[in-house]
Symmetry: C2
Subunit: 226 residues, 2 copies
Amino acid sequence: MRNSKVPGVTIERLPLYYRYVQRLDRYETNVVSSSELGKRVGIPAAQVRKDLSYFGEFGRRGVGYEVDSLRYHLEKILGLNKTWPMLLVGAGNLGRALVNYRGFLEQGLEIRAVFDNDPGKTGSNIVDGLKVEPLENLEKRITELSIKIGIIAVPVDSAQEVAVKLVELGINSIWNFAPTLLEVPSHIFLRNEDLSVGLMSLIYYSANYESGKECSHHIEKNSEDK
Amino acid sequence: MRNSKVPGVTIERLPLYYRYVQRLDRYETNVVSSSELGKRVGIPAAQVRKDLSYFGEFGRRGVGYEVDSLRYHLEKILGLNKTWPMLLVGAGNLGRALVNYRGFLEQGLEIRAVFDNDPGKTGSNIVDGLKVEPLENLEKRITELSIKIGIIAVPVDSAQEVAVKLVELGINSIWNFAPTLLEVPSHIFLRNEDLSVGLMSLIYYSANYESGKECSHHIEKNSEDK
DNA sequence: TAGATTGTTAATCGATTAACAATC
DNA sequence: TAGATTGTTAATCGATTAACAATC
């Protein structure tokens, strides 16, 4: 892998490519071109090729990309060929939805432990044997399950505190659903899945909507205005 | 407003500024500088000023931004001074979490009607008087509630079909949670809140994590992905 | 006046896109 | 060979950042 300095936006697009080739083989095409792939995920062909080229040469000139091979490589690049056990802090509505979401996501959301500081929630079964545990169990479970990824779905006021604790206990990546800025050491990977930003920008566009005017505004979370 | 060509990334940052000033007045500061504001939301001061300047001159040189005034302007720019009734299609786990999420979001997620094509779900109470309705009611409810924003939280296989129907019935903005590319006319605003992209990019970074190496990777979906 | 901070211009940086030689 | 398509370079585009005159 020669991913010297892969742009973050490229990393955001790899999942789209992966998802497409993953679904593709059910239908039957041995080979897919960058233009076909691009059309299906809404990205120009040149960009598809550029993105893939950061990681290697997966295609054949004059032919295209062999589907199985591309899927294999994307899986490996993204790390989806392995299992990444995760923990979730916050067993509220969103947290429970995420746990249940596991089944819907093709590549699997491996939530192995759920925590909440509300004694009223502790001990209750969330789904197939996954029980809500008190935060005191964090250290023990992180160690015994070798967890490196934490999901934060607690209210804003306790999010920072939870983040600090997770970092102390050796987590390296945090998926934060609390709509607030978390301060974590720079070596920790933090991804904010901030629905309130989504909601407000959605309202902005709807409020400024003028029928027929303007061109397409298809936004993929980060940016990618068009 | 002189928003001739406001970058999409700027729109994604306005909610962060808004959230900060919204929470700020509880504490007590009459004035906030771009550097203070920037520090609190993780964005350089120059960028804060540039972003705001797309919409007007809200600060005073040598002084800073008056908090109440800034909040007022951001509220107006984002359209949060009005109510934007929305509908939700898909009463699964994620859909129900969104309905319940309403209370947690300061600015309010105005879901006024919920639809599902599963007769087993129809009629059941989701929360305080909001009942799941069959899709046949879409047209009637969109008209009587003047709804312009639709939220799609159905499985991948039916998402496109739902999108087409919403567009036909006059929706202008779609918040799509189904992990798939929707084809909609270019005048429709489409925002993909794709958790599977989030999950996969999270795994990428965690899989490629090397302790201590590299610098900060704080991504706002959108980059954020960003 | 001296210090602070905005709004804006210009320079920098980085990502997207066009173009094309290499290859099947 | 003729047509297709990659991988990559170079040109373009657009966003970020530094710098500073204007202003309090």
